[in-house]
Symmetry: C2
Subunit: 297 residues, 2 copies
Amino acid sequence: MLLNDLGERDFLDELARRGLAGPIGDDTATLEGGRVVTLDSLVEDVHFRLAWTSFHDVGYKAAAVNLSDLAAAGAQPEAFIVGLGLPGATTLDHAVALYEGLNEHGVPVRGGDTVETPVVIVTVTAIGRSTRVPGRGGARPGDAVVVTGALGAAAAGVRVLERGVQGADDLVTAHARPPVRLAEGQQLAGVATAMVDLSDGIGVDAGHVAAESGCRIEIVSEQLPLADGLERAGGELFWAMGEDYELLATLPPDAAAELSFPVVGRCTDGSGVVVTLAGEPIDTPGYEHFGHARRRP
Amino acid sequence: MLLNDLGERDFLDELARRGLAGPIGDDTATLEGGRVVTLDSLVEDVHFRLAWTSFHDVGYKAAAVNLSDLAAAGAQPEAFIVGLGLPGATTLDHAVALYEGLNEHGVPVRGGDTVETPVVIVTVTAIGRSTRVPGRGGARPGDAVVVTGALGAAAAGVRVLERGVQGADDLVTAHARPPVRLAEGQQLAGVATAMVDLSDGIGVDAGHVAAESGCRIEIVSEQLPLADGLERAGGELFWAMGEDYELLATLPPDAAAELSFPVVGRCTDGSGVVVTLAGEPIDTPGYEHFGHARRRP
């Protein structure tokens, strides 16, 4: 059995089953005293291409995707620890630009490790504090599902780059510099029954909540806020492809009514995720490492 | 200017000078509340070769080198967060074996990230608690220099592997499964004026203490405890080549006299590190990423 055949999720489940890692259901680990820790790596030619993304933006994004995990935990960031793998022929200017991007978020960058690698690999450990981590396992039938912002721009930006389309800079920027929803995460954490960030695609990410909560999640695609200029149907389903780094939260209906986030679906009895378009269930794309789905970028 | 020309240390100094990372003098970052965090990566064909080291031992060592940094901070480990990069053609059995090695230390392995990479890269963030982190900047003239155990076996083990020598399993094991000096680190942390682990070679590692403390460190090589079967002179200076993961601490002389660790040198006025053999200063090898010194393994 190769990891390519198994997929990342099944690999992680296998590790948990053997007692070798866990809890891995959340993207953050919670320690005593309200500290949360998360780790994410960006790998050249898997998560970004240097032809499309500057070293500065690679650093910015490596920090942003970790802050997104902290946001989903309702946390306030405290520090980054950075593991940087660079080819030996990398210029100092490029390496410094990457660190400038990491620093753009205003979170202190603390010591780490710098090693020589065949491709650029940025591994950021982000540490923060949270008074309440919603996790993924608390969604209940009847809960509303909300998202914190418009979807689809990042995936459309990748397509723009692949096709060499001119004049779609907003989409390209959305891919290189994802949003960081720390304030929204802290606001939602007080009432959310579950919360995740939309990194792998709404079908995949909502699927983790459904599986760990033991409920079914129904997403009505017409209710999803879309990035400017994107179509909901009839073309690529960019809004389902991930890398948006908006948050998805499940909330009791009264809490959802008090907040201003768009309601995009609901939790029901059952299992799995159903995304509907014009009332009919549709298949949504999504990302998983080690095969099983399309590669990005 | 390429990183190959600059070297890791000068790169880190440049980042600190620009305010982009720091404090990077220590291998651990200290957070509020006595938590310490460290991050180290092991990269295939830079730090290990799969022809020589099993996946299990790669996991064991990736955890051990981080525990060694916690030991130098006098810390008790609390959790690992693991970033694992594997080629897609890695078997599940190998990936599980790596995680079994990580788990052998009895420290909980918490969630992390698994990504597809061209070579095996294991990045471990280790989190612990310490009541006193000696750091590298407190050594004073008159302090004694002690180490926690015998040196040279790991580097000799690499040479054994390179030459295909049979019957030297102890040396090979020393390279694959370095010691973890947590108890010694906690004992020394109460009195040490500075403490580091010997990962890059005693000349390099003591050099960090000398530079940050503003003193000179004199090491008498005849006083260094050597691994069984190794020669002090006349051949390769394996004891100077690093990867021993013993601790080196500077202590006030009275504290050194009360403890049982071998005294291998002293701090004096001045700067830099001098290692003597038969009373004469000698050049010692040591390791730095991005050129400047020999590669390992």
